[in-house]
Symmetry: C2
Subunit: 247 residues, 2 copies
DNA sequence: CTAAACTATGTACAGCGTACAAGGTAACGC
DNA sequence: GCGTTACCTTGTACGCTGTACATAGTTTAG
């Protein structure tokens, strides 16, 4: 193995190049390797996915991993494509695009909460994977019947996914920093000394939003607010956009 | 030096702990080090900001850098805080919140285009820096007179900044991948073979949006679309939200 | 039965962040 | 003036990373 990334991504497709017949069969499949990498990333974060530790957890030598993937970067693309492939089907937009958009955002948030490391993979080559393309296709259908042309349909999807991704990043980060609550309290004390009564608005609002203090801060509130804005913003385009020129 | 990150961030504040008087003065100031790190990141990306190369470009030894910052992670926080401190003042919202929100988004986009590496720094500790706090305060004022309570004001700002950040990431990535146009063409050929006529919607829309092919794809269109949705979504909250319960 | 194609393995290298120890230098308390 | 103290500077070294490369072993094609 160790084929081109494109062929590797489509390795389960009948059109993929036949795997060589000579020589010993691999003791592990490429799928197993990617699967284990995902398990590792889920448990201990993307930084824990080193070629060495991955090999160890599979009971193979370090360099054997390179029989299956050409590089760590390629591996990350394979990982993302696999979790994308496994996303559940979006709800049918027949009963209104609003519910479908909410479901779209929530299912993506759920994916990113289950696999936070996906946020750390920033490789445009994921776009050529079968899982990612299938996801793109399914999600485009969320806007069926909304009367959007091709470019606007793509922009609308990107808009929703971007919101979900960005909000997920905030939620995940918030959970992480909550683990260091003790140190945070001490820093907040020092910070108060520097701030004094400067930036009163920032202090009031920040306290209300609970970012500076270790207060409970309902992070879900920001999600709800944002999601409602996303839906309202799209409604303006979908329901009023036809009549007058919006741009 | 090599003080706590908090004191380092606020090093120009009169309340910051006095720098020690004994021993030789530093040959470079901490500000110079951070400045040079920013220049390096602007030119060659965040990955090029290694302690060794930073030291080289400053004419000092590797370990001398640690006289100024405790760790590379701390350095990144200092870098982000400095570029945040230098952001221009947002426009006055007195002439309507819409123009102010558009300016808010555009100025943040501009910042992220000038310093794309800011997108790669994902450290919550930036929030305790004077530059970042000042930016937060200025930007909260964009919603003066919009009738939002503290929590909603914060959520609205987060919403706009999140959009800008996410859209900037897409624009920057698009520019990067445009550099590898030749390889991309070849991959697109192979991909077409795998795709066949599956996912027709994705293929049509994708082609229209120009992601799969190397076509010009007006990335600004997605920005314009998204920004208009952001404004419309906020309008729903600000102009209609008062009368009926929105949540 | 030979040759080709394949996997598996160990060694090695360059690069990273940074701990640690030693040495040089300027200001303080006397 | 003189230690003493505090600070900056420097070199060496460690553990970690991704991965190039050479070698050896194994299976199948011809």
């Amino acid at each position: 193995m160790a084929r081109d990334l494109l062929d590797l991504l489509w390795r389960d497709d009948p059109r993929a190049p036949a795997v060589g017949r000579r020589g010993p069969r691999s003791r592990h499949s490429t799928g197993e390797v990617v699967e284990q990498a995902i398990a590792l990333a889920d448990e201990r974060g993307l930084a824990a996915v080193t070629i060495r530790s991955l090999a160890d957890s599979l009971g193979m030598t370090t360099m054997s991993v390179y029989t299956h993937v050409n590089s760590r970067d390629d591996l990350l693309v394979l990982m993302v494509d696999l979790v994308n492939a496994r996303m559940p089907e979006p709800v049918d937009p027949a009963h209104g695009w609003r519910a479908a958009v909410v479901d779209l955002a929530e299912s993506n948030l759920s994916l990113l909460r289950t696999h936070p490391w996906v946020l750390d993979v920033d490789d445009p080559r994921t776009a050529i994977g079968p899982g990612t393309i299938a996801k793109y296709d399914r999600e485009l259908h969320v806007f069926d019947g909304a009367g959007l042309d091709d470019v606007r349909r793509d922009a609308a999807l990107t808009f929703v996914l971007g919101f979900a991704r960005q909000a997920a990043a905030r939620l995940v980060e918030h959970r992480r920093s909550a683990e260091f609550g003790a140190d945070w309290q001490q820093v907040a004390g020092g910070l108060a000394g520097y701030l004094g009564d400067a930036h009163p608005l920032a202090q009031t609002v920040g306290r209300a939003a609970g970012e500076a203090s270790g207060s409970p801060y309902d992070a879900d509130a920001a999600w709800e607010f944002g999601l409602a804005r996303v839906v309202a913003g799209l409604a303006d385009e979908i329901e009023n956009g036809q009549e007058g020129p919006a741009g």
